[in-house]
């Protein structure tokens, strides 16, 4: 099976190369058969890479430890679902997984648009296959997941060997969320390749209206939404698996996924200006190139050893290849943008500084500065090492200090932007839209302060969340009220129909509301507290905030591939029993030398009680750490609302009966059809 995988990769290399050549020559020579052949080659490439990834999965499922990658990331006693997640649990497999998602995306988008955008699609095929070619070359020549294990003495032949068992999967990755979280991140990050390919194709074919944007809107939304959920799932994993009481540590690997998402968010907002006003054409191309580049850059920094991270894959020499690929990508895009500037002229002018389009510009500015701050902080250790030889650390205090005020400003814009009119917002409409929400938010700030919200950023964040939340609720209320008045529908029906008739707008509001909840959840972190309780004995009671806890039992239990020490701790609130919490300290076989914690969390809307057990040496006493984490559940609820909003925004608008859809007027010789 390893040979089949290897053969499939070699085939992929050839087929991807052929797809590029056939597509480019086909469009130059206006040879439809050659273009179709390139298209089919791209779909064939998907089949080849699929064969490779399924071969790798088969090797894991059959415990074929003759393959180095399998031996390094699996073991006989590893449960089935973790054997599957081991496929992307290491350097080589994760790159292959990246590659596979790219080829699936490519095949889908190429097949979906096979009869559309005839001038652009061959270039789309070439760009996507160019990326695929790069990754396949990495698999074959730098990070090969099918490499057989063996020992090679200097000057001697390679002696293959097959260990009787593997080293096992990293214990921290043996968590159900790790089966879902990395694929979601990859689906999100790789997805930016599609709008990027369309942007480059639009530049190459000089079709620089909004066709490429409309065609890729859904792809971009899916990519963005899945990446957002993937990031939050990663936070949830960190929260319940790493045992430090938080969900975001500004680790370089976390930052690597956040950066393309921030730029993607800016892009999703600024494309609306192009669709509505025919403006910001250059900017949108720049943004999508930046989002795609950040995806590749993030993939690089987690794998090259450039940045120290607890989450990073093993250090390897792929960094130089990735950097070269990024340079080619950026330089190529820059050349095309400069060369096509005459095609990128705006079709209209900006309105007032107080207008919807201006608010989008400021929103873009803040998102990009936020991305820059993350990138700057992530790379600063490397810069300082270059500058003065000291690789300093840039941790959470820096990122929080810089990004929190920027994020609060962004939250403010989230409330303001959607309520401003295009072109110019009148003073009357500003008063009408903002006076009540701003008044209520500021008024609620006073009791909040006296209730103990005395941390400046947390106070600002919650007050701003109230402001934005009210503006969103008012938008729904006013729209539904008007609709109910006009159509005779009941109010709740009017809300549903209002949303379904303009899914993009109201789905967007739901997403914004999800962010309001996320900010409320994040604000709670300012009031997080913890207490360490070393050498606590069975029968001992603790008081922490309004909770009483009592250690009931300590013992040992075995899992499928680990031995665990556990503690049972009763949790009471004002004397009322809430739960029995059962944290564990696990020791896995194989590579795990230190043991891992499995925390116990009692979650309510108000706060989490988060209990870490660091094991016992004598069976009757052990070390505990208890965290009191206010409002954390709102982070996960906010994530769910964000996901629902994304799904709503992806739904096609429900048409009013009797109203026919009007074909979109072609501009600049573009084709009329729109894929969304």
């Amino acid at each position: 099976m390893a040979q089949l995988g290897q053969f499939a990769l070699a085939l992929s290399l050839i087929v991807a190369f052929y797809a590029i050549v056939a597509s480019l020559i086909g469009i130059r020579a206006r040879n439809d058969k050659l273009i179709a052949s390139g298209r089919n080659a791209a779909i064939g490439n998907c089949i080849a890479v699929s064969t490779a990834i399924f071969s790798l999965a088969y090797l894991f499922l059959t415990n074929d430890f003759s393959v180095s990658y399998v031996a390094a990331h699996s073991s006989l006693d590893l449960p089935l679902h973790f054997k599957i997640s081991s496929v992307w649990g290491g350097q080589e497999g994760s790159l292959l997984f990246w590659s596979w998602i790219l080829t699936v995306y490519s095949a889908l988008v190429i097949f979906q648009n096979r009869n559309k955008h005839r001038a652009m699609m061959p270039y789309v095929t070439a760009v996507l296959m160019g990326t695929s070619l790069f990754f396949t070359a990495m698999h074959l020549f730098v990070a090969n997941p099918f490499k057989l294990g063996g020992i090679q003495m200097p000057g001697g032949p390679l002696s293959l060997f097959r260990p009787s068992d593997g080293a096992g999967l990293n214990p921290l990755l043996q968590d159900t969320l790790m089966v879902i979280h990395p694929p979601m991140l990859y689906i999100g990050m790789v997805g930016f390749a599609v709008p990027y390919a369309f942007a480059i194709a639009a530049l190459m074919s000089r079709q620089l209206g909004d066709t490429w944007i409309r065609t890729t809107r859904r792809w971009t939304m899916v990519t963005w939404g899945v990446l957002a959920i993937g990031i939050l799932l990663g936070g949830n994993w960190a929260y319940h698996e790493l045992g430090w009481g938080g969900f975001w540590a500004w680790d370089p690997v976390e930052n690597a996924s956040l950066m393309p998402w921030l730029i993607g968010t800016a892009y999703l907002h600024s494309v609306m200006v192009q669709e509505k006003k025919g403006m910001l054409k250059i900017w949108n191309v720049v943004l999508i190139v930046a989002a795609y580049t950040m995806s590749i850059f993030g993939t690089m920094i987690t794998r090259s050893g450039l940045i120290d991270s607890v989450h990073a894959f093993a250090k390897s020499d792929i960094g130089g290849y990735f950097m070269a690929f990024i340079v080619v990508t950026v330089a190529g895009a820059a050349y095309l943008i400069v060369d096509r500037l005459p095609y990128l002229k705006p079709e209209s002018q900006m309105g007032s500084i107080v207008s919807r389009e201006s608010s989008f510009l400021f929103n873009n500015l803040v998102l990009l500065v936020s991305c820059f701050a993350v990138l700057w902080g992530t790379m600063f250790p490397v810069i300082s090492e270059w500058y003065n030889g000291n690789k300093i650390t840039v941790g959470a205090p820096f990122f929080n200090g810089v990004n929190v005020p920027i994020a609060i400003f962004l939250l403010f814009l989230t409330g303001v932007g959607p309520l401003l009119a295009w072109r110019k917002a009148s003073t009357n409409s500003l008063k009408r839209n903002f006076l009540v929400p701003a008044g209520i938010a500021l008024a609620s700030g006073v009791p909040l302060y006296f209730l103990g919200v005395n941390h400046l950023y947390a106070w600002l964040s919650i007050v701003m969340s109230i402001f934005v939340g009210i503006t969103i609720i008012r938008e729904f209320y006013k729209g539904a009220q008007a609709r109910a008045y006009g159509t005779g529908e009941r109010f709740h029906e009017a809300i549903v129909n209002l949303t379904l008739r303009n899914t993009r707008r109201y789905g967007g509001y739901v997403i914004h509301f999800g962010f309001v909840l996320l900010f409320i959840g994040w604000s709670g972190q300012a009031f997080s507290e913890k207490i360490r309780l070393p050498e606590s004995k069975v029968g001992q009671a603790f008081q922490f905030h309004q909770y009483q806890m009592r250690v009931e039992e300590m013992g040992v239990r075995n899992g499928p591939n680990y031995a665990a020490q556990f503690a049972s701790v009763s949790l009471y609130e004002y004397g009322k029993k809430l739960a029995i919490m059962s944290p564990e300290w696990r020791k896995y076989g194989g590579r795990d030398q230190q043991g891992t914690t499995e925390v116990a969390i009692h979650s309510t809307l108000k706060a989490d009680v988060y209990l870490v057990f660091q094991g016992s040496t004598d069976g009757v006493s052990g070390d505990f750490t208890i965290y009191y984490n206010p409002l954390v559940m709102w982070v996960w609820i906010g994530g769910a609302v964000l996901g629902i909003g994304t799904v709503i925004a992806l739904l096609p608008n429900r048409q009013t009966s009797g109203k026919k859809s009007v074909p979109v007027k072609a501009k600049e010789g573009e084709e009329v059809e729109h894929a969304v």
Partner: protein, 159 residues
């Protein structure tokens, strides 16, 4: 009698524990806040106050060292400086602000925000200037705005 006294004893235990816990927390506050300025040197990349790695080779030692400094009455700056001298600048969780290079880490994002803000305003003014030159004379529609808004409210708003 047992029942009568057990309630009292339980209350006393809770009060005693609360007192102990509050004193523990008061001491812990400084350990926590200064610990947030330091990185655990076990290569976990966590803040010293946040490293909960079992059998961590660094965190307990570093925390004990930190406690010694706090008990000796040293201020935060002195403690961080002594850790930096012992473990190297990598032990600090964020760049300092004492030299221009480290300070640039903190300042650059806000310089970017400020510079970007100016660029956006210039962009907007540039296009509005062109608009003023090229656009036909505008009709004052403010007196109709109320009616227009009312009509629009009856319809489903569009993006």
């Amino acid at each position: 009698m047992n029942t009568r006294y057990s309630g009292t004893i339980r209350k006393l235990v809770i009060v005693a524990f609360l007192a102990a816990a509050s004193s523990l927390e008061a001491g812990a506050d400084r350990l926590e806040s200064v610990g947030n300025g330091l990185i655990c040197m076990c290569s976990c990349n966590q803040l010293l106050s946040g490293c909960e790695m079992i059998n961590c080779p660094s965190a307990p030692k570093m925390r004990a060292e930190l406690k010694q400094h706090i008990d000796a009455g040293e201020d935060d700056k002195t403690i961080l400086a002594s850790f930096s001298a012992k473990y190297g600048p990598k032990v600090l969780s964020a760049p300092g602000k004492s030299n221009w290079f480290d300070l640039s880490a903190w300042v650059m994002p806000f310089v970017a925000l400020f510079g970007g803000g100016i660029a956006v305003v210039i962009f907007l003014k540039h296009f509005r200037t062109r608009e003023a030159v090229e656009a036909p004379q505008q009709v004052d529609v403010s007196k109709y705005e109320g009616e227009i808004e009312e009509e629009l409210r009856k319809l489903t708003p569009e993006d």
